[in-house]
C-alpha cells in the first residue's frame, strides 16, 4: 500500500509556519499571524483526514499493516543502530494525526478571539505551530529515537507555552516545573531506549518489535537472559520507557507538573494538557504494546496499576479543587489513568486486545470532550477574569452557547449515553471486567466520582449564585460570551463529543491490526451508568443552589478533605527532595568543595613556594665569609660523595 507523498506536508506545514512566524512574525506579520497559522493548520488537518481516508477506507485486505511513507538515516551510530527520521502510518498514528490536527485547528481558531490584542500574538502562534509540528512528528515516528526527539520537542514547546506569560513568576515556575519533571521522566525513557537498543541492535520500530516479540529470536533471549537487580534487561527497558510515558502523561507520582501547567493560556491547556501531549505516554505504550503484552507482562502489570491508582487519586483530588482549570487538569489525569490501565488489562491479539482498542477509543473521544471543556472554561475565564469558582455562578443566562456545550461535555465525560464518553468508557470497563476485577471496581468508583466533580464544576459555574449579581458589574470590561471565532470551535467539538462514540472503532484500531468487533451488552453498561447518575445527583443536591451542605460534608470528612485539598502533599515531598536534598546536600557541598578544597590545594601549592622562599632567604646573608663557608661545605660534600661513588 503506497501513500501519496503530499501527506508529508502534514507535519511540514506547521514547521514552515513556525519558522516563518518565529523569525519574521514579531516585526512584520503580527496582525496576520493568526490567519497564517490557522490556514496552514486547516490544510494539514484536511490532509490528515485524507490520510485517514486513504489508510482506512481505501484500504484493501484484512489486516492493517504499518506503512512507512518516507524515511532517511539521520544519525548513524553503528552499522545496524542508527537514528532514522521518517513518516510511518499505522492505525494508531493515523488516529492520532486526526486528533492532533483537528483539536489543534480548533484551538487555533479559538485563539484568534481569545488571544486578540496580545502583544506577542505572532510568537504565540509560532509556538502553537511548533508544538503541532512536534506532536505530529512524534506520532508518525518510525524509530524509537525519533519519538524521543519529538518527545523532547513537545516538552520544550509546552515549556514555552506554559511560560508564555513570562513576566508572571508563577508561570515561570510552572513552566520550569513541567519541563524538569518531564525531563526527569525522559531520563528513564532514554536509558530504556539504550537498554532495548543494546539488546535488539536496532532502533527501528517494526524491527525492534519483531525482534523482541518473536519467541525464537536470539535478541529476545539475550534481553531476557541478562538481568540486573533480579529483573531482566527487557523488564528494565520497558519499565524505564514507561517511566518516560508516565512523566508526559502525568501518571502518579509524576503528575505534579500538570495542575501547575494551567498557568499557560487556556487554549494551550486545551490543546497540550488535555487533548494531545499528555496522551503521548499512552501512545508510547501503545506503540510498543506487542513487546509489553507478549514478552513482558510484568511491565504491563505495572502500567495497569499506575493507571488505576492515578485515575482514582486524581478523581478524589479533583473533588476539592476550587480553580476550575485545576479541576479539569485532575480530571484529565484521571481519564488518562483510564487509558493506561485499559492498556494494562489488555492482551495481544483477538478478543484479549479489547483493552487496547478501548484505550485508544477513549483517547479519541476524550480528546474531543476534554478540549471542549477547556475551551468552555476558557470562555468563562475570558469573561470573569478569574479561575476561582467562588467568582462564578449563574452564567447560564449570560453565555448560553458555552453553557450548552459545556453541559454536553460534562455528560460525555460522565459516561452518560449516548455521548461519546459512555461508549469508550464502557469498553474499558468490560475489558477490565474480563481481566481484573479489582481494577474494574476501582474504575466504577472513579466513574462515579468523575460524574460528581464534573457536575460540581458545571453547577458552580452556571447555576448556584444568581446571575445578575455580577453580570452587571462585569459588563463594562467583559467581552460578553466572546467572539464568533470562540464559539465555532465549541460547537464543532460538541458535535464530536456527541458523535464520536458511534464510530465503529474496533474496525479500525486493534492490537494486532485485525478487525475487532466491540461487544456491547447492556448488562455491563448498567453499573457504570448508575454510578455516574449517583454522582450527578449528589452534585445536583449539593451545588445546584447556593448552600452550605458541601461545607458540612467537607468538615465531616475533614482529614480526607484537607488531604485531598492539598493534593495529598505530593508537591511538598518533591520540594523537600529537590530543594533540601539535591540543592543543600549535593549542590552546595559540590560548590563548596570546588571553591575550598580543589581550588584550595592548587593555591596552596603556590603559597607553599613563596613561604619556602621566605624561609630560606637568610642563607644569602651578604657576608662573603659565609659564602666561602658554603663553598667549602659544598666542595667537601661533593668530594666525599664522589669518592664514595668511585669506591
Amino acid at each position: 500500500m503506497n501513500l501519496p507523498m503530499n501527506l508529508l506536508l502534514i507535519p511540514l506545514l506547521p514547521l514552515a509556519t513556525f519558522l516563518l512566524l518565529g523569525i519574521f512574525g514579531r516585526k512584520y506579520l503580527s496582525p496576520v499571524a493568526g490567519m497564517i497559522g490557522t490556514a496552514s493548520l486547516l490544510a494539514s488537518a484536511l490532509l490528515s483526514l485524507q490520510a485517514a481516508y486513504v489508510y482506512f477506507i481505501q484500504h484493501t485486505g484484512e489486516v492493517y499493516t504499518s506503512v512507512v511513507a518516507w524515511k532517511m538515516t539521520w544519525l548513524p551510530f553503528t552499522q545496524d543502530v542508527s537514528i532514522d527520521i521518517g513518516f510511518m502510518l499505522d492505525p494508531i498514528s493515523v488516529m492520532m494525526l486526526v486528533v492532533v490536527t483537528v483539536v489543534s485547528l480548533m484551538v487555533h481558531i479559538y485563539s484568534l478571539g481569545y488571544m486578540k490584542g496580545d502583544q506577542r500574538f505572532a510568537t504565540y502562534y509560532a509556538f502553537l505551530s511548533l508544538f503541532t509540528f512536534s506532536m505530529l512528528g512524534l506520532v508518525v515516528s518510525v524509530n524509537i529515537f525519533q519519538i524521543y526527539m519529538f518527545w523532547e520537542l513537545v516538552g520544550v514547546s509546552s515549556f514555552l507555552l506554559i511560560g508564555y506569560y513570562f513576566d508572571k513568576p508563577s508561570a515561570v515556575a510552572a513552566s520550569k516545573k513541567a519541563f524538569i519533571v518531564t525531563r526527569f521522566a525522559d531520563l528513564g525513557f532514554l536509558i530504556g531506549i539504550l537498554i532495548l537498543s543494546y539488546h535488539a541492535h536496532t532502533l527501528d520500530f517494526p524491527t525492534l518489535i519483531h525482534r523482541l516479540t518473536s519467541s525464537d529470536s536470539t535478541y529476545l533471549t539475550s534481553a531476557i537472559g541478562s538481568s540486573f537487580l533480579g529483573f531482566s534487561a527487557l523488564t528494565w527497558g520497558l519499565v524505564l520507557v514507561f517511566m518516560g510515558g508516565a512523566g508526559k502523561s502525568a501518571m502518579f507520582p509524576l503528575h505534579i507538573w500538570l495542575p501547575d501547567a494551567m498557568e499557560g493560556p487556556t487554549p494551550v491547556s486545551a490543546l497540550i494538557h488535555a487533548a494531545t501531549m499528555v496522551v503521548a505516554g499512552v501512545f508510547l505504550v501503545a506503540r510498543l504494546f506487542p513487546i509489553y503484552a507478549i514478552s513482558c507482562p510484568g511491565a504491563l502489570e505495572l502500567v495497569m496499576w499506575t493507571g488505576a491508582i492515578s485515575a482514582m487519586f486524581a478523581a478524589i483530588i479533583a473533588c476539592t479543587q476550587t480553580d476550575i482549570k485545576r479541576v479539569l487538569a485532575y480530571s484529565t489525569m484521571s481519564q488518562i489513568g483510564y487509558m493506561m490501565f485499559a492498556l494494562g488489562v489488555a492482551g495481544y491479539g483477538g478478543e484479549n486486545g479489547l483493552g487496547f482498542t478501548a484505550s485508544m477509543f477513549h483517547l479519541f473521544t476524550h480528546a474531543f470532550f476534554k478540549a471542549l471543556l477547556f475551551l468552555g472554561a476558557g470562555a468563562v475565564i475570558h469573561m470573569i477574569h478569574s479561575n476561582e469558582m467562588k467568582d462564578m455562578g449563574g452564567l447560564r443566562k449570560t453565555m448560553p452557547v458555552t453553557h450548552i456545550t459545556f453541559l454536553i461535555a460534562c455528560l460525555a465525560i460522565a459516561g452518560i449515553p449516548p455521548f461519546a464518553g459512555f461508549f469508550s468508557k464502557e469498553e474499558i470497563l468490560s475489558a477490565a471486567w474480563n481481566s481484573n476485577k479489582a481494577i474494574y471496581y476501582i474504575a466504577i468508583i472513579t466513574a462515579g466520582i468523575t460524574a460528581f466533580y464534573m457536575f460540581r464544576l458545571y453547577y458552580t459555574i452556571f447555576w448556584s449564585k444568581e446571575a445578575n449579581q455580577h453580570s452587571d458589574n462585569h459588563d463594562e470590561h467583559s467581552h460578553g460570551e466572546g467572539t464568533l471565532t470562540m464559539k465555532i470551535p465549541l460547537l464543532i467539538l460538541s458535535v464530536g463529543a456527541i458523535a464520536a462514540g458511534f464510530i465503529p472503532f474496533g474496525n479500525f484500531v486493534s492490537s494486532d491490526g485485525h478487525h475487532l468487533h466491540l461487544p456491547f451488552e447492556l448488562s455491563n453498561a448498567i453499573l457504570p451508568i448508575i454510578a455516574a447518575l449517583i454522582g450527578i445527583i449528589v452534585a445536583t443536591i449539593l451545588y445546584k443552589k447556593e448552600n452550605d451542605k458541601s461545607d458540612k460534608i467537607a468538615a465531616a470528612v475533614n482529614v480526607l478533605y484537607t488531604g485531598a485539598y492539598h493534593k495529598f502533599y505530593i508537591d511538598e515531598i518533591y520540594v523537600f527532595v529537590t530543594k533540601k536534598i539535591l540543592f543543600n546536600l549535593i549542590g552546595r557541598p559540590a560548590a563548596w568543595i570546588d571553591k575550598n578544597i580543589v581550588d584550595g590545594t592548587m593555591n596552596g601549592i603556590a603559597s607553599l613556594v613563596i613561604w619556602k622562599s621566605n624561609l630560606i632567604k637568610s642563607i644569602q646573608s651578604g657576608k662573603v665569609q659565609d659564602y666561602a663557608l658554603y663553598f667549602y661545605i659544598g666542595v667537601f660534600g661533593l668530594a666525599i660523595l664522589a669518592i664514595y661513588l668511585v669506591k
Binding site: 537514528i83 523532547e152 520537542l153 513570562f166 515561570v172 520550569k176 519541563f179 525531563r183
Partner: protein, 500 residues
C-alpha cells in the same frame, strides 16, 4: 590544497593589525582576516570531500612534511583527517564570532586583536600539525595570549585568574612535554632512530611498560587543558574574568585542544595503556560531569554558570574518549564541536547582556526578554542547546556519547554512563534556573527598561554560531560522515589491546 595558509592567514592578520592604530581599521582587518579564514575552511572542506570522493583513502589528506630540526627528527609535518577538519571549522566559526562581539573594544584595541589572532593561529596550527613537537609548540603558543587577554582586558579578579590559568596550563604542558619525551625516546625503529611524527609513531609499538609510565603524563597534561577533574579549577575563574571574546576562545577552542590531544596523542599512540587506565578516566569524567553540573546549580554569576557547565560538558568528551569504542569517540569529537559552538554562543550572549546591564548576577537581572528579545532568544537557544534539545548540536553529540558508552557491558561503566545521562536533568535544572531568573520574570531594575537590543555585528556573530549549531542539530549525518572515517582510522590503533 596547502594547509600552511591556515596558520599563515591569522599570523599575517595579526601582524597587519600592528601597523594600524584606529579601532575602526584594526577591527576591520581582524574581521576580514577571520572571515577569509572561514571561507578558506569551507573551501578546505569542499576539497576534502572531493578528495575523499575521488577515493583517496590516505589517513591524512594534504600531508606535507618540511624538515625543521633534522638531527632531532623534528619536521613541520601537517595533514588533516575528518576530525581535524571539523576542529578547523569550529575554530573558524568561533574566531569570526569572537572578532564580531569585540567590535567595540576601545581599550588597546590593536593589542587586543593582535593577541586574538595569535591565539587563533595557535589553535589552527595545533589542529593541522602531525608532529608532536610542532603540536606542542602550537599548544604553548596559545597559553600566553590568554594570560594577557584575561589580565589586561578582563574583569573581576583578573590578575589572579590570569596567573592561575597561565600556571595551570603551563603545568599541563609540562606534563605533556614529559609524555612526549617518553613517546619520543621509546619510538626507536630498527635503526634506533626516534621520531615525533604521529603517522610514524602510530605504527611503531611503544613498549607497554613505557606506555604505562607515560600515558598518565600525556593524558593528564592534555586533560588539564580540557578541564579534567580535579584540574579544572582554572576554568571557572579564567572564563569568568576573561573578556567576552577571550571566554569564547577559551571555552570554544582552547579547551578543545586538550580533548583533541587526549585523543590524538595520548589515547591514539598509547592504546594499551589507555585500555588499562580507562576505568580511572571514566571515573574522573563521570565525576566531572555530575559534580560540575551540581556545582553549576549553585552559581549566581552567569559566566560562572557557563564555566562550570563547560566543566560538566567537557566531561562528556573525556567520557567518550575513555570508553574507547568507535561510537563513543565519534560522540566525543561531536561533543567538542558542539560544545565549542554552543558555549561560545552562550558567552557571547552573556557578554552582550553584561555590556548593557553591567551585571552578571542573577539576582540583579530579570525580564530581559521584554527589553532585548534578540539577545534573550540567543541566550535561551544556547541554553536549550546546552541541555541537549533535539534540533541543536548538543543533543546529537550527547546521544552519540551515550550510545557508545552503553556498549561497555561492565557494571561500573554502565553506572558511570547512567550517572552521566542523569546529568541531563541537572543541566535542565540549572539552565532553566538561569534563564528563568535573568530572561523571564518581572524586570527587577527599571534602568533596564530602556536598554537597546543587539547591534548588527552582535547579531551577525550570533547567527554565525547558530548556523553551525543548527546545521549540526538538523542534519548531523554530514558531521558524522566527516568525523566517522577519521575515528575509524584511529580505531585501527585504539582497538589494539594488550592481548593482540
Amino acid at each position: 590544497m596547502n594547509l600552511h595558509i591556515l596558520v599563515l592567514i591569522p599570523v599575517l592578520t595579526a601582524l597587519t593589525t600592528l601597523f594600524f592604530k584606529e579601532l575602526k581599521q584594526v577591527r576591520m582587518i581582524a574581521f576580514l582576516g577571520s572571515a577569509l579564514q572561514l571561507l578558506l575552511s569551507f573551501a578546505l572542506l569542499a576539497v576534502f570531500y572531493a578528495e575523499r570522493a575521488a577515493g583517496n583513502v590516505a589517513p591524512m589528506l594534504f600531508y606535507s612534511s618540511i624538515p625543521w630540526f633534522p638531527s632531532l627528527g623534528i619536521a613541520y609535518t601537517t595533514g588533516i583527517d575528518g576530525i581535524a577538519m571539523a576542529m578547523i571549522l569550529l575554530s573558524a566559526f568561533v574566531v569570526l564570532a569572537g572578532v564580531l562581539v569585540s567590535w567595540k573594544m576601545e581599550k588597546l584595541s590593536r593589542e587586543f586583536f593582535f593577541l586574538l589572532m595569535l591565539l587563533s593561529a595557535g589553535a589552527y596550527g595545533f589542529f593541522i600539525s602531525l608532529d608532536l613537537f610542532v603540536m606542542f609548540f602550537f599548544l604553548e603558543i596559545a597559553v600566553i595570549p590568554k594570560f594577557l587577554l584575561i589580565g589586561v582586558w578582563g574583569s573581576g579578579r583578573k590578575e589572579y585568574s590570569a596567573m592561575k590559568l597561565a600556571l595551570m596550563l603551563m603545568g599541563g604542558s609540562a606534563l605533556v612535554f614529559l609524555g612526549l619525551m617518553g613517546i619520543y625516546f621509546n619510538s626507536a625503529d630498527i635503526h634506533g632512530l626516534h621520531t615525533f611524527n604521529i603517522i610514524e609513531l602510530s605504527v611503531r609499538h611503544i613498549p607497554y611498560s613505557a606506555q604505562m609510565l607515560f600515558f598518565p603524563f600525556a593524558f593528564i597534561g592534555f586533560g588539564i587543558f580540557g578541564a579534567l577533574f580535579p584540574f579544572h579549577t582554572w576554568v571557572p575563574d579564567g572564563h569568568s574574568s576573561a573578556p567576552t571574546a577571550a571566554s569564547m576562545f577559551l571555552a570554544g577552542i582552547s579547551m578543545k585542544l586538550g580533548g583533541y590531544g587526549c585523543l590524538r596523542v595520548a589515547t591514539y599512540l598509547m592504546p594499551e595503556a589507555a585500555h588499562t587506565y580507562s576505568p580511572i578516566i571514566i571515573l574522573l569524567a563521570a565525576i566531572a560531569i555530575i559534580y560540575g553540573a551540581f556545582a553549576t546549580m549553585m552559581q549566581t554569576d552567569l559566566k560562572y554558570i557557563n564555566a562550570y557547565s563547560s566543566v560538566s560538558h567537557c566531561g562528556f568528551v573525556l567520557l567518550g574518549i575513555g570508553m574507547m569504542n568507535e561510537t563513543a569517540i565519534t560522540g566525543a569529537v561531536m561533543q567538542m564541536i558542539s560544545h565549542g559552538l554552543m558555549t561560545a554562543l552562550f558567552f557571547a550572549a552573556i557578554g552582550m547582556i553584561y555590556e548593557r546591564t553591567h551585571t552578571r548576577m542573577l539576582s540583579q537581572l530579570g525580564g530581559l526578554l521584554k527589553v532585548m528579545p534578540f539577545i534573550s532568544s540567543i541566550f535561551v537557544i544556547a541554553g536549550l542547546c546546552s541541555l541537549g534539545l533535539p534540533g541543536f548540536s548538543g543533543f546529537v553529540a550527547e546521544m552519540t556519547v551515550f550510545m557508545g558508552s552503553w556498549q561497555h557491558v561492565e557494571t561500573g561503566f554502565r553506572i558511570a554512563t547512567i550517572l552521566s545521562c542523569a546529568s541531563i536533568v541537572v543541566t535542565a535544572v540549572y539552565i532553566l534556573r538561569a534563564a528563568g531568573k535573568s530572561i523571564m520574570g518581572p524586570i527587577v531594575n527599571e534602568h533596564h527598561l530602556h536598554l537597546n537590543d543587539a547591534t548588527w555585528n552582535e547579531k551577525l556573530a550570533a547567527i554565525v554560531l547558530l548556523f553551525g549549531i543548527v546545521t549540526i542539530g538538523i542534519a548531523p549525518f554530514w558531521l558524522s560522515n566527516l568525523i566517522g572515517p577519521g575515528v575509524h582510522g584511529l580505531m585501527a590503533n585504539i582497538g589494539r589491546t594488550i592481548l593482540s
